[in-house]
């Protein structure tokens, strides 16, 4: 079971071996990244098969808590830890030359730190992995090496570093109140944290980790970076990194900060995020920024879902998050050569029928048309919000419905343009590259598979959510580790 640490260690090692291997022999360097990711996926699958009971805690290097750092493995952590190498492999930068080596190295670094975020059971360790992911993403954000890329990356770095400082203050407050940063230990000390200072600590952590989760007040970087960086990087940041940041917040909410005020904070910030994101996407004139703003709206939906208490909330959040993890990277890939003005897309569907058909499929699922998986995700979300019953949650449900209408409006407007007759004398943009189209087709197949196997998928999400929503197995696995020696 301790082989699970390889999910972090392998990509981290490969990130630094890759430039050397590329110097020795170019094909060797080209092979290192994908081979590492495939090995990582295999390690993850083996760990899932070997997982006994609801959750397992692993002491790194044999050092037991309270001094050692632990990895916490349950199905929720494994789903996201496995999603990391799969998504990075799908969005792998196959570029050649110096530039390619740099991008591949940074992508591996991002994969290692994201897997660490999913698995770590220690608050400071999470902070370190978060910083590692942040540094890798600053490098990736400048991958086009344009002036706009550098300026956008600088503004991203400033906001993200600001968030890190705020998160560090939150970590310091938690340590001041409890004297530990182990999440399982913190779960047993919840009484120490259920006071205004504890709530302040949660809010600091929320704002700090919320930067990567594209949460409302700290998401100004999103449209700039996604428009300036290459579409692959946008897909990786919007699809993957944001979900891992959300996972960290959710762990903290479920295990450590069981306070109604904390849930309300998440609900309010998520709701504002949905409103601002969807309306800004409606106003956007170019595809890249429309997708960026829509991503903010979708992440707002995820945060709203996780603010619902109990298993229903985790199940809804997991469904919305996984759906977005499949759909948004695919849309960014389709925008590879359609990234410019939306108006200029007139007739693009005639030059690329497959691309246009996929765009319509993903748009339909994002809006939530049955029987596509997006419908079930939104169904769970609305059911959960309505089930809470208080006026604030009902207002949230209303906002989701309004946002869906807005979303449908701008996505279908774009889809209609794809099939419109091109104006005389203008040439619609070229079809996307075969690699981007192929990857998007694969993701489309995943989406359709989600329609076919919706029943087992729903049962699996329910099972994962039931374990994750309950802090008891989390604490029990850590206790078993300490007492078992």
């Amino acid at each position: 079971m301790s082989s699970i640490t390889l999910m972090v260690a392998l990509p981290l090692l490969a990130a630094f071996v890759l430039p050397l291997a590329a110097r020795v022999a170019r094909p060797l360097g080209w092979l290192v990244g994908p081979a590492t990711l495939v090995a990582t996926i295999w390690v993850g699958l083996e760990a899932w098969r070997a997982l006994e009971g609801p959750a397992v805690t692993i002491a790194l290097g044999g050092f037991l808590p309270p001094l050692g750092i632990v990895f916490h493995v349950d199905e929720l952590a494994l789903v996201f830890a496995l999603a990391v190498p799969v998504a990075t492999l799908l969005l792998w930068p196959w570029d050649d030359g110096e530039e390619g080596v740099r991008r591949q190295s940074l992508t591996l670094l991002l994969a290692a730190s994201c897997a660490g975020l999913a698995l770590s059971g220690d608050l400071f360790n999470i902070y370190v992995f978060y910083e590692l992911a942040a540094v890798a993403s600053y490098g990736l954000a400048t991958d086009r090496r344009t002036a706009a890329g550098f300026a956008a990356a600088f503004r991203y770095l400033m906001l993200s570093a600001l968030g890190s400082v705020v998160a560090l203050v939150g970590v310091a407050l938690v340590y001041f109140l409890t004297g530990t940063l182990n999440l399982a230990h913190l779960a047993t000390l919840q009484d120490e944290l259920s006071n205004p200072i504890g709530l302040a600590a949660f809010l600091f952590l929320l704002i700090g980790f919320g930067v990567k989760a594209e949460m409302f007040p700290v998401n100004a970087w999103v449209p700039e970076v996604y428009a300036a960086a290459s579409r692959r990087v946008s897909a990786l940041l919007a699809g993957l990194v944001s979900k891992l940041a959300v996972l960290v917040l959710v762990r903290m909410l479920l295990v450590v900060f069981e306070q109604p005020e904390a849930r309300v904070a998440l609900l309010v910030l998520g709701t504002v995020g949905v409103l601002t994101g969807e309306f800004a996407a409606w106003r956007a004139k170019d595809m890249a920024r429309m997708l960026a703003w829509s991503s903010i709206g979708q992440l707002g939906l995820v945060l709203m879902a996780f603010s619902i208490s109990g298993t229903a909330g985790v199940a809804a959040g997991l469904a919305v998050a996984l759906h977005h993890l499949v759909v948004k990277p695919a849309l960014f890939l389709l925008a590879e050569r359609w990234g410019g003005a939306i108006e200029a897309l007139k007739g693009a569907g005639r030059r690329s029928p497959l691309g246009a058909a996929l765009f319509v499929l993903f748009a339909l699922s994002l809006v939530g048309i049955p029987p596509l998986p997006g419908f079930w995700a939104k169904y769970l979300l609305l059911g959960g919000l309505a089930g809470e019953g208080t006026s604030l949650y009902l207002a949230g449900a209303l906002v989701v419905l309004v946002a869906t209408v807005v979303e449908a409006n701008y996505l279908f407007r774009t889809a209609a343009l794809l099939y419109a007759r091109p104006e005389a004398g203008t040439q619609p943009p070229a079809a996307n590259s075969p690699l981007a189209l192929g990857t998007a087709t694969l993701l489309g197949a995943v989406l359709v598979a989600g329609v076919v196997w919706v029943v087992p998928l729903g049962a699996g999400i329910e099972r994962i959510a039931a374990v994750a929503a309950d802090p008891v197995p989390y604490v029990a696995s850590a206790l078993a580790l300490v007492q078992g020696g």
Partner: protein, 155 residues
């Protein structure tokens, strides 16, 4: 933390964080934003050290054969702060390298100008018209400017 020095240190740490964040939000110069970030990080690190500090305790160093003379300071936050300082320096170096790149590309470090150029670049890249500025009112000034001073040609 009842002793006055501790209170002053806590207030100082929080003050440094507030000054730093205020500096990042309010500065109009990219280099000053980086400096403000340094201040904010120093404040957060100080807060973390204070979280585990005791005035009546000894440095947490154990020597073989020598018993600890009394209670010791919690070493965990100090180890964490060392990590945080290293991360902070790395991020600051990256921030400075990006500042240099922005200066090379745009020739200015004024935040408003950089943002304007960035917006123009992104709009040009996408082929869409530049959105109206949020900092200046749309349209012309309602009243004509006062008469130009003598000797200057009005355009």
């Amino acid at each position: 933390m009842s002793d006055p020095i501790g209170q002053v240190l806590f207030a100082g740490a929080i003050g440094l964080v507030v000054i730093g964040i205020g500096g990042i939000v309010l500065s109009r110069h990219l280099f000053r934003m980086v400096l403000a970030l340094v201040i904010a990080e120093a404040g957060a690190n100080l807060l973390l050290v204070l979280a585990g500090f005791r005035w009546d305790a000894f440095a947490p160093i154990l020597t073989q054969g020598v018993a600890a003379p009394g209670p010791m300071v919690d070493p965990v936050p100090q180890a964490m702060v060392l990590t945080a300082i290293v991360i902070g320096v790395g991020v600051q170096a990256l921030a400075l390298s990006l500042v240099i790149k922005v200066w090379e590309c745009y020739g200015t470090l004024d935040l408003a100008e950089v943002r304007e150029r960035l917006e123009a670049d992104l709009a040009g890249q996408a082929g869409v018209p530049l959105p109206g500025s949020t900092e200046r009112p749309a349209g012309e000034r309602p009243l004509p400017p006062a008469t130009a001073p003598a000797g200057e040609v009005r355009q």
